[in-house]
Amino acid sequence: MREITLSKAVNEALAEEMRRDETVFIIGEDVAEAGTPFKVLSGLVEEFGTQRVIDTPIAEPGFMGLAVGAAMTGARPVVDLMFGDFLFLIMDQLCNQAAKIHYMSGGKLNVPLVVRTNLGATRRSAAQHSQSLHALVAHIPGLKVALPSSAYEAKGLLKTAIRDNNPVVIFEDKLMYNDKAPVPEEEYLIPFGEAAVLRDGTDITLIGTSSMVQVCQKAAEILAAEGISAEVIDPRTIVPLDEAALLKSARKTSRVIVVDEGHQSFGITGEIAGRINEKAFYHLDAPVLRMGAMDVPVPFSPALEDITVPTPEAVAANARKLMSGEMIDAA
């Protein structure tokens, strides 16, 4: 199969959906000629024109609000939010408005929009351009949340997001834009709420999201070399969450580590660990371990930044601890 970058995969998804459905449009800062600072959208304005690839002023709450209104009246806006950190600016329009309008109207109004944004540190971009804020939106009922971990997933999930009749927030990993993966030429969609088992294993389950899927995969390789068989699962969407797949794996391996790049406390790992602990409790040989980004603002200095994010080595080390029963003393 051909291999394309995540960036290209996103671009294709948008182009295909815009060709298919003329109500789809893109709105955000420097999305047209510039094709965004990440150059993800290059070429789209040439095909679809400035009426459907709309450059806005630097007014995130404003254009997010416009997208809500356009979505309520029949369009399918794809909002380009340049950095995930800017979510803080659009929270009211996203969480008080978009997320709630279908419910508050008793099902009469729909808000079919997508917010495309990103997450991930270690780009030396410091505390306001490096956050992974997916937990915040996952906490708000009415929003779906997708976390692709490869070019393949980025395309399939984005196409699904655009066709969804609900507001969806999709986070791409900034560091992955140039990573290639096999992506079919033919059209495909990835349904929401279906986790992918990326590697089968029997001793321990590594649940990774987004950027942390690769980390889990690498950890699994390290562990394999030591004779430990790790299963790697990628939930792909955290709302809806494929609880059944996660529980199935947990019951099989009896040991689980959840790895996510959001801050560890009050984030994704607590939720997933909480559900597994509750619903697979008697199958577990050890507590579910959680590994998120450190609970500190992301530091600029490379000497500090790199240690704030889980690494394959750290995941493998924790896996060994779980296997050896070391956690028993701790707990």
């Binding site: 449009f25 009426q51 459907r52 806005t56 002023p57 007014a59 709450p61 404003g62 254009f63 997010m64 609000g65 416009l66 997208a67 809500v68 209104g69 356009a70 979505a71 309520m72 009246t73 029949g74 369009a75 806006p77 009211d92 329009q93 008080n96 408005q97 309008i101 279908h102 419910y103 508050m104 109207s105 008793g106 099902g107 009469k108 109004l109 729909n110 009922p141 009415g142 779906k144 969804d164 009749n165 609900n166 809806p240």
Partner: protein, 331 residues
Amino acid sequence: MADSKTNTEAYLRMYRQMVRIRTFEDNANQLYLSAKMPGLTHMYSGEEAVAVGICEALTDNDRITSTHRGHGHCVAKGAEFQQMFCELLGKEEGYCRGKGGSMHIADQSHGNLGANAIVGGSMGIATGAALRAKMQGADDVTVCFFGDGATAQGLLYEVMNMAALWKLPVIYACENNGYSEYTKTDEIAAGKITARAEAFGIEAFEVDGQDVLAVNDLATKLVARARKGEGPFFVELKTYRYHGHHVGDINREYYRSKEEEQDWKANRDPIIRFRSWLVEQGVASEDEIEAMNAEVKADAAAAVDYAIAAKYPEAHEVDMHVFTDIEHVLA
């Protein structure tokens, strides 16, 4: 332009709509006072000429966004008493199946995209609806209602900038009732409100919001111009709310005097003024008007009775309408 027959119909419709709003509010207030209504609500009484003068200039394809003080806009845009009272009482037959209540009534069938409990929260939505109309090549216009207090929200300036840049068919209707909750407008608004729109190159107007004909005249002209792509526009309507900020705001002499209230009610009431004019002009006799008033009163009473007797939504509705495609999200 319109012949006298048409005008007569329009005059009587406007009068009737103003009376319907006042009557609706009197009943809502009564429901609150008799502890039959859950929560609080904000009365539109005194401001009727604003909603009616503007909405009379709109068709069902045109849209509005409304505010926490939204019953007037809702009635003026064509809503029925019965579904409105049901909504206020949290009943299943309400416009939003009881899920929205007073602050979130939406009536999509008549183009009312909904009230909003976030002050200024619908400015983006209205502008986005206008963007959608423009993208579709439709000549629909959207009116965004908000209060003087809401002009303090930065979102207004973000969306006016985009509306001006892109010549969107949106009319910003600022209902200046002199108060922002418990504070006089001049204590919280520097400079001149219309100048703020003009600074973005938006034509702005001031009009007596107690004079339904003046409001309707201006609205008719601006709507026609907006349909031709000459928008956006900004209108400041000077008006007054008779009740407290909400139904529970009874002792309010610390922020405004009884004399001031009395003066507006006695000398600038939009219904009394228009009624005298109708009689003077021979459009309707006192008797005809009294009959109309009585009919509206009876309608309202029947709707209130109906709503009180109507049933609440079933408990199983609680997790419906979170998403369009998941019937019961917690099932």
